[in-house]
Amino acid sequence: MATAIEFENIGKLYRLGLVGTGTLSHDLKRWWTTSIRRQPDPYLRIGEQNDRSVRGQSDYVWALKDIDFKVEQGDVVGIIGRNGAGKSTLLKILSRVTAPTTGTIRARGRIGSLLEVGTGFHPEMTGRENIYLNGAILGMTKEEITRKLDEIIDFSGCERYIDTPVKRYSSGMMVRLGFAVAAHLDPEILVVDEVLAVGDAEFQKKAIGKMQDISKGEGRTVLLVSHNMANIRSLCNRCVVLDKGVTTFVGDTGEAVAYYTQTFNIVKSQHVVVTDAMRDMGRTMAAKMISVSQVKESCTYASDEDIVLRIKIESSINISECRVNCTIDSSSDTPICTNSSVNFFDISAGETKEIEYTILNPGLTWGKYSVSFSVGTGNMTTGETNFDVVRNAIFFEIDRPSATSNTAYAKWNADSWGNIYLHTKQKIIS
């Protein structure tokens, strides 16, 4: 099959910190070395690998480096990776929003990019006018839009409001209208960034169906960024896994998803001091978690083993009936289970308490997991207040049993079976 896109040695260097301060001096230095002394750009050499959690020495980082792969025509390629892995940067370069620092991309056919739905919608203009405007921005001609207008309006389900200014639309309707226009764009190569994660369930289904039609029925090439492994699996036939700006895996979707979930970048540390970066924004933090540790040093447990944690909570106010809830996430960032604590404690202003927190027999299948916590009062029926929410505070691993112990369990396929080993009891009654 013919190659549709070829990425060759693509790299993108970003300058951190305040863009605009001192750029003139850097520009002059760069100009001096590259144009007058004919030497390589001094700032290209000092770029570092893009790891956002580690404080770097250089002001420059490579958001992408040495990206090298080919996409065949008709392929639907998923691009997966954690936040900050460079997925969006790659799509931006491909959709020519920004230029790469090094390398070349060669593509065959018109590239339509969908990094956002409803780009350029003007609130004062009617739905119909915005279809034309948005369509033209995405690269359609007026005649093309007129031809598809009825189809677009029908797909959006906003027929009744089509001659009303979009500022009167609900946000859901805007999204529908935006996606409807984009879905009728007919490029040979379609670049999509997580726009499927919008709209209600019914519309999502419609959107995904449309995506499938585009790729399967019409033989177009699609590049799709998503965090949703279910969507990736149902839409893509190939995947690229990015990590800290480099490609770590290119290949078949099933293998790529497996690779991605297995290399779940966990730091199995026994003791974690909670930093503000781990907390949810916008909480009062009147009471907050300051540290969490695992009693077991290896941080690795058997499936039916209790997980014993020690949590330190500090409060600046008096709280009666304080509680700590936890949620366990799988390695593909999917929540698995949550508790609603019934163990309350009182804490007074200025006090620090340490709690032994035991997760009883979690029944999880082998793999890596993270635990998030919320400190608050009340429950779902009385109304809750969370003072502090800490995401992915601590990581643990459930050991993979030896293949001989229990075959079904050892060959567990979490992607299709889930993460909880279900216990059932069966007997023949007739």
């Binding site: 190659t3 070829e6 970003y14 300058r15 863009v19 605009g20 750029t23 003139l24 520009d27 931006k92 370069i93 491909l94 959709s95 020519r96 929003v97 920004t98 230029a99 790469p100 620092t101 090094t102 390398g103 070349t104 991309i105 060669r106 593509a107 065959r108 056919g109 018109r110 590239i111 990019s113 990094l115 956002e116 780009t119 350029g120 003007h122 004062e124 203009m125 006018e129 034309y132 405007l133 033209a136 921005i137 995405l138 690269g139 359609m140 001609t141 007026k142 200014p165």
Partner: protein, 286 residues
């Protein structure tokens, strides 16, 4: 075959050569330009009572002000022309130029939201600006025509000597648009990185008006240095040519007009080259 560049329809590279402006692509996106023009015009005065009448309120009030300050208090000559006619001609021309320039120079900053999400030739936006301002200019020119006819037919019949040079008018508008576009894209390319220029520009534009024969005729300038300085202003030739052709006063000079034209062409070339360079990576600096 695959290494043949003809096989690929799109090649994305870090830097393009200086003069690689894709004119064909610009033409492909002409519908988008039309759409932007439509948006600029229809949305400007949405939910206002007077609507497009605002296009007329501004020049009328400005002319009244000028008549009071420059004509009344400062008693600056208008080459024997009725003040409203003289000022209105200047206000229309200058208004078009400065509106185009101000809007165009903010191209990148104003459109960062769209530019950050989707690709189209960025030059479409300033071009659409210049065209949509033309509508407003046209309406103001209509007002000028009415005032002109009132004077020509009723107030002082036959005393306004419109001549054959009035036919240069379309060329003058093109030059005005070209200069505004040229300066605008030049500034917009530079402001993405050095925002100081944005502050400088609004100040600069308001001063520039006084260096252009808008509120006074060229004939009142007697100091030879000032005269030379004004001749270097590419707008001088255009404004003077307009007044000479339509109203029959002032100094018409082919030399000044040719200078303005050459200036415009060079400015546009430099502007487009710079703009083209900046558009590829401006998302990282804006």
């Amino acid at each position: 075959m695959k290494n043949d560049d003809k096989y690929w329809s799109t090649v994305i590279k870090p830097k393009s050569s200086l003069f690689s402006v894709d004119w064909g692509e610009l033409w492909q996106y002409r519908d988008l330009a039309a759409m932007f023009v439509r948006r600029n015009i229809t949305t400007q005065y949405k939910q206002t009572v007077l609507g497009p009448l605002w296009y007329l309120v501004q020049p009328v009030l400005t002319v009244v002000m000028y008549m009071f300050v420059f004509g009344g208090i400062a008693k600056i000559s208008t080459d024997g022309l009725p003040q409203p006619l003289f000022y209105l001609s200047g206000v229309c021309l200058w208004g078009y130029f400065s509106d185009c320039l101000n809007r165009t120079s903010n191209t990148f900053v104003d459109n960062a939201g769209i530019f950050g999400k989707v690709y189209f030739p960025r030059l479409i936006v300033p071009i659409a600006n210049v065209i949509s301002n033309l509508v407003r200019f046209g309406i103001q020119l209509g007002l000028f025509l009415i005032v002109y006819l009132v004077y020509q037919l009723f107030v002082m019949p036959g005393q306004i000597h419109t001549n054959i040079y009035a036919l240069l008018f379309p060329l003058l508008v093109v030059m005005l648009a070209g200069l505004a576009l040229g300066f605008g894209i030049l500034f917009s390319s530079l402001t993405t990185k050095y925002r100081d220029l944005q502050l400088l520009l609004s100040f600069f534009v308001s001063l520039w008006m006084y260096a252009t024969p808008i509120i006074y005729p060229m004939s009142t300038v007697t100091n030879s240095y000032a005269k030379l300085a004004m001749s270097l202003n590419p707008l001088t030739g255009i404004v003077e040519a307009f007044r000479y052709g339509v109203l029959g006063v002032g100094n018409f000079s082919w030399g000044l007009l040719a200078y303005s034209f050459v200036f415009m062409v060079v400015l546009l070339l430099v502007g487009v080259v710079l703009f083209n360079r900046v558009q590829r990576s401006f998302m990282d600096t804006v």
